[in-house]
């Protein structure tokens, strides 16, 4: 009898894992992917929607259509995971027993966690671009915006793509300049971190860019409440930032069923796991992939991709009764749009913070790390094709290894 693999979530991680497992384990496994809807969003595209650079309808495709023939797709809400019975209970559908479970349900936006955020002004002068509806509403608001106070606010870590709030600032600077209203706009980035980003060398480079572009940086701003009617963003320590337009990145948590599954997740609904084997802390037959995991690296599609091989090999080993391999190193790779047709690229893992150098080939490139270039911008745009045609089918990107390459990496010269 084939082993039953159930994958919760048909996003980046779930899809690429299903396709890889299907290809590598073939008839030996029976793979089922569960998701609550059939809309796979190319999430990096959300950043471009507010600036009219991406058509919202073009970044959504069928989840089912991204899965190889032979992978079963079940459209249902997950009620809970029963770790002892080794079964996933679904709402309005038959329960799914599993031999191996992969949790890949990502992160969920929780605007309701911040007082007042969903109150008056939500999607009128308070927006997020982290979902399609918000990105679209923000596009219309930005098209009308004729100057004033624009505040970009990161509520709390962890969030998906922690560089996206900065990219939004840089693109807003470019967009408002093109529209001739930048001089009438006060642009502020408010973050709970004590710097522009989480890692010191990249923080310095990014703070330099904010400064160059005249974007104010408000650090250690722990968002307490939003007053959409009055146009005030307040921190827990009573600092107030007035705004005409607020672009917020709400707090994130894991999928709701994680909280309903005893022992599976932490307080925020993320799932603790071994950072190198990706095996869940709660049960040996459960693995965690992508944003759903509470591993100390970025929540980003590149991470899911780099985790893919470790997951697939470890599922094979678990089924064969072999020891797991601790091969995932926290590798993340992120393009950072900086506006005016340029982008930065950062590449890092658990051990090494983002540094300068060349990517993917040390000393050669062609892409420069931690430095603005047009080529990085074009690479970011081309990545969308690779996402649908290489990443999701579960194939390797030529010349790019899963583990971080450290050769030729150094702190940037000032």
């Amino acid at each position: 009898m084939p082993s039953r693999i159930v994958i919760l979530g048909g996003g980046t991680g779930g899809t690429l894992a299903a396709n890889r497992l299907h290809r590598e384990l073939g008839e030996a496994v029976e793979i089922t992917v569960v998701d609550q809807d059939d809309r796979h969003i190319y999430q990096p595209g959300l950043l471009f929607v507010p600036f009219g650079l991406a058509d919202p309808d073009h970044i959504v495709r069928s989840r089912r259509a991204q899965l190889a023939d032979g992978v079963r797709f079940v459209l249902a809400d997950v009620e809970r995971v029963d770790l002892e019975e080794r079964e996933v209970e679904l709402r309005d559908a038959a329960a799914l027993p599993y031999d191996v479970l992969i949790v890949a349900t990502g992160a969920r936006l929780q605007p309701e966690e911040t007082e007042g955020m969903l109150g008056p002004g939500w999607n009128e002068r308070v927006f997020t671009f982290y979902d399609l509806q918000g990105a679209r509403a923000l596009r219309d608001a930005l098209a009308r915006f004729d100057g004033g106070r624009l505040v970009v606010n990161l509520v709390d870590m962890p969030v998906k793509c922690p560089v996206a709030p900065l990219e939004f600032c840089f693109l807003a600077d470019w967009f408002l300049t093109e529209r001739g209203v930048r001089e009438r706009t006060e642009l502020t980035f408010a973050t709970p971190l004590d710097a522009a980003f989480t890692k010191p060398v990249a923080s310095k480079a990014l703070a330099g860019l904010l400064d160059e572009k005249g974007i104010a940086l408000e650090t250690e701003f722990a968002t307490g409440r939003v007053d959409g009617a009055g146009g005030v963003l307040a921190s827990w320590d009573e600092r107030e930032l007035p705004f005409d337009l607020l672009v917020t990145i709400p707090a994130h948590g894991g999928a709701a069923y994680v909280e309903r599954s005893p022992g599976l997740g932490d307080e925020l609904g993320f799932v603790p796991c071994d950072p190198h084997t990706l095996q869940a802390a709660a049960a040996s037959d459960v693995f965690v992939l992508g944003d759903a995991a509470n591993v100390p690296t970025s929540k980003a599609g590149s991470v899911s991709h780099f985790e893919g091989e470790t997951i697939v090999e470890n599922v094979r080993r678990l089924l064969a009764g072999e020891e797991l391999q601790p091969t995932f190193d926290g590798h993340a790779n992120c393009f950072i749009e900086t506006g005016f047709g340029k982008a930065l690229l950062i590449d890092f893992n658990y051990e090494q913070e983002p540094l300068a150098g060349r990517f993917p080939e040390p000393h050669v490139g062609p892409l420069p790390l931690l430095r603005e270039s047009r080529m990085n911008h074009w690479a970011k745009l081309m990545f969308e094709w690779a996402y649908w045609h290489v990443l999701l089918p579960g194939r390797d990107l030529p010349g790019i290894s899963d583990q971080l390459q450290t050769a030729g990496r150094h702190a940037p010269e000032d």
């Binding site: 870590m157 709970p192 989480t198 100390p296």
Partner: protein, 105 residues
């Protein structure tokens, strides 16, 4: 790293005054760090937060964020700011003798 003396004990601290070795900590050290940071006396509510933070850090290797504290320590965020003015997660970590919480990534 700097060698210093807190509550009569020699300890090593980083540039921001966080103990580098959580094992070198004790409750007298906590009380003195608290006083230096504007908290004259540590109440039971303070200790509830500090003990929770230490426990989590020693278990997970990472200090909990303010949001985790609010959800799991038994002390709501509003009160955390009253107990530990300005930055509760940071200040409670400092008093608790564990490294500064990173925003992770």
């Amino acid at each position: 790293m700097t060698q210093t003396t807190i509550a009569g004990r020699p300890v090593e601290v980083d540039a921001e005054g966080f103990l580098t070795d959580p094992q070198a900590w004790d409750r007298d050290i906590a009380a003195e760090i608290a006083r230096e940071n504007g908290i004259p006396e540590l109440t039971d509510r303070h200790w509830q937060v500090i003990d929770f933070m230490r426990e989590r850090y020693l278990q997970d290797g990472a200090a909990p964020s303010i949001r985790t504290l609010g959800k799991a320590s038994g002390v709501p965020v509003k009160e955390l700011y009253e107990l530990f003015p300005k930055g509760p997660a940071k200040l409670a970590a400092k008093i608790g003798g564990i490294p500064k919480p990173r925003g992770c990534i």
